[in-house]
């Protein structure tokens, strides 16, 4: 992962701001969602289901401990194209990053800059934060395992 979270965020904000209206921004989200790596049918299971979303959302994660980096990698999918776009954003700033970066990153600040806090419906916003909570919980467990291992 060469590009930092901040660089990634700046890139997203720039892409968003190149469009004046939300119709086009949603088109951008939908396009981002189209490029998501798919989930296997077996990964669309109850264990991976993210609750609190109005559409179906599944999130499959694994921890990459290669070189002691303890990164959380995840793929996710939804039956809503717009939610897939939101998943793509979360992957850009979270997936493959070390647990401590995931835990300290100000994702709400990014949503604010993208205008998502103001423009997404309450139901969608709750769903988005449910995904964030799930990712952070995974990072949390990785981080605490690490502390235990080193302590």
């Amino acid at each position: 992962m060469n590009i930092t979270q901040e660089e990634q965020a700046d890139q997203l904000v720039e892409d968003f701001e190149s469009f004046d209206d939300w119709e086009d921004r949603y088109r951008l989200l939908i396009d981002l969602g189209r490029k998501l790596p798919p989930l296997d049918e077996t990964e669309r299971n109850e264990e991976n289901r993210v609750h609190g979303c109005q559409s179906n959302v599944w999130l499959a994660a694994k921890v990459d401990r290669e070189g002691g980096k303890n990164a959380v990698e995840f793929r996710a999918d939804s039956d809503s194209s717009i939610v897939r776009g939101l998943i793509a954003i979360l992957r850009k700033v979270y997936s493959g990053r070390p647990a401590e970066q995931i835990l300290t990153y100000d994702v709400e600040g990014l949503f604010e800059r993208l205008g998502l806090n103001q423009h997404l419906s309450l139901g969608r916003r709750n769903g988005l934060y449910s995904m964030v909570e799930r990712i952070k919980a995974l990072a949390e467990s990785v981080a605490s395992n690490m502390t235990r291992a080193h302590g």
Binding site: D21, W22, E23, S55, D79, S80, S81, S121, R124
Partner: protein
């Protein structure tokens, strides 16, 4: 007779006028051409542009586009007359009702009770004390389940509902069944979204104690054959509740003619305020039922040893009621009655046929609910897009529709869809708005293809 003579006279004069028109047409076509249209132009029975001017909220733009409000089955907008009634109440009459001896209390009491008479006339109930004010349809059904249900339904008894019910006409009965060991039976529906009446007849048996069915489906738009449903239940001495949340804004209802035992109305769906509704119940039933909630207004006398309850309708109206809402509802019923439900229904039917035809041409779109008899509701799914995404994209165009399960999850399962998109029409919607809606749907096709 102080509220409705105007609209009744209007109705009576309409009939002879249209008959006269036909006669003119036969005898003197020229005269008809010159004369009648002129009258229609100067005093149109139903002019949607005039009507729209009565609704302040419709004048605005959302997301930089003119608002196209097609979420009327969720809640309808309020005409100026209703807003004025609320303001007038709080500005000039606000006080607690029924036991005050001062001027304001008497004014508020009078207007509150006027609304009861308006609701009585609106539903053609035999007595005004058969009108109980509630928070809405949900509370009306819960009231009946918790009082009539608790007293008269026991272990092994059966309650019949239908497969298209709103959660508010499922859950109160399930709660009762759980408490009493009673059994919930469900009338199945066919692929068009109609109740299968033969199956209903088979469900009725000696254990059946209650039937509770919606008049118009909030998802499918189906108008259910409630007259037949009531007749069959009554043949076995079974009481019937009709959930009128979706029908009361669209169809003329005569509870005496239908002979239903209970009928519920939600004020906010019929252009009135939120948090107010009507439960109609036959006096014989309401008198036999225990009270629902205890408190002020519902008592006759209270001692620590024994409380006696007030007479109808107050027995079921514990606590300070929603006085402003009730007065606002009265104004809403006046508004709807002045326009005439037949006229409203004809207008909405036209919108529905136009919309149905237009969306049928969209590839990948499937309408859920294709009953013979439908009222003002168009529910659909699209191969290209999740219902939530349809709703979001329509919103960017200023078009408001509803997406999700519409509080009818069992019905979603029946049609094998997790959610749907729903456009629902009201008296102030226009053909041009349907065009905007269809245009926005076509955009959805293009974006999600």
């Amino acid at each position: 007779m102080s509220y409705y003579p105007d609209s009744r006279e209007e109705d009576e004069t309409k009939e002879p006028m249209s008959t006269a028109t036909v006669r003119h047409e036969e005898a003197v076509p020229d005269l008809q051409e010159l004369f009648v249209p002129e009258i229609l132009k100067s005093a149109p029975a139903f002019d949607v542009e005039t009507i729209r001017a009565d609704f302040p909220i419709l004048q605005q733009q959302v997301r930089g586009k003119p608002l196209v409000y097609l979420d009327n089955a969720a809640t309808s907008q309020k005409p100026r007359a209703v807003l004025d009634a609320l303001t007038k109440y709080y500005e000039t009459e606000n006080s607690n009702i029924h036991r005050g001896v001062h001027f304001l209390s008497e004014e508020a009491t009078r207007h509150y009770e006027d609304s009861r008479v308006k609701a009585q006339r609106f539903l053609n109930a035999a007595h005004s004390h058969e009108i109980i004010f509630t928070r809405g349809t949900t509370e009306g059904i819960n009231l009946v389940a918790a009082t009539y249900g608790r007293r008269y339904i026991g272990e092994g008894d059966e309650i019949i509902i239908s497969g298209m019910e709103h959660h508010s006409n499922i859950v109160p009965w399930q709660m009762l069944c759980e408490e009493k060991g009673a059994v919930l039976r469900v009338i199945p529906i066919n692929d068009r979204g109609e109740l299968i009446l033969e199956e209903y007849e088979k469900l009725l048996n000696e254990r059946t104690k209650f039937v509770s069915v919606m008049h118009v489906s909030n998802v499918l738009g189906t108008i259910n054959p409630i007259a037949q449903i009531i007749k069959s239940a009554h043949a076995r001495g079974v009481a019937v509740l009709i959930d009128g949340a979706q029908s009361s804004p669209h169809l003329q209802v005569d509870v005496q003619q239908l002979d239903c035992d209970f009928y519920t109305v939600s004020g906010h769906k019929i252009y009135g305020p939120t948090g107010i509704g009507v439960l109609y119940g036959k006096a014989e039933y309401l008198n036999a039922m225990p009270p629902y909630q205890g408190g002020g207004d519902m008592i006759s006398s209270v001692t620590f040893e024994k409380t006696t309850y007030n007479a109808l309708p107050f027995k079921f109206e514990a606590g300070t009621p929603n006085i402003a809402g009730t007065i606002g509802l009265g104004a809403a019923l006046d508004y709807v009655s002045a326009l005439g439900l037949e006229n409203i229904a004809a207008h909405e039917d036209e919108l529905l046929s136009y919309a149905t035809e237009a969306v049928s041409e969209i590839e990948g779109l499937r309408i859920i609910g294709t009953a013979q008899e439908k009222a003002g509701i168009l529910t659909f799914v699209m191969d290209q897009a999740h219902p939530l995404d349809i709703g979001t994209m329509l919103d960017t165009q200023g078009v408001a529709i509803r997406t999700g399960h519409h509080c009818a999850q069992p019905l979603m399962q029946r049609f094998g869809v997790p959610a749907t998109a729903r456009a629902s029409f009201a008296l102030y919607n226009t053909i041009e708005e349907i065009d905007s809606f269809v245009l926005a749907l076509r955009k959805v096709c293009e974006i999600f293809r």
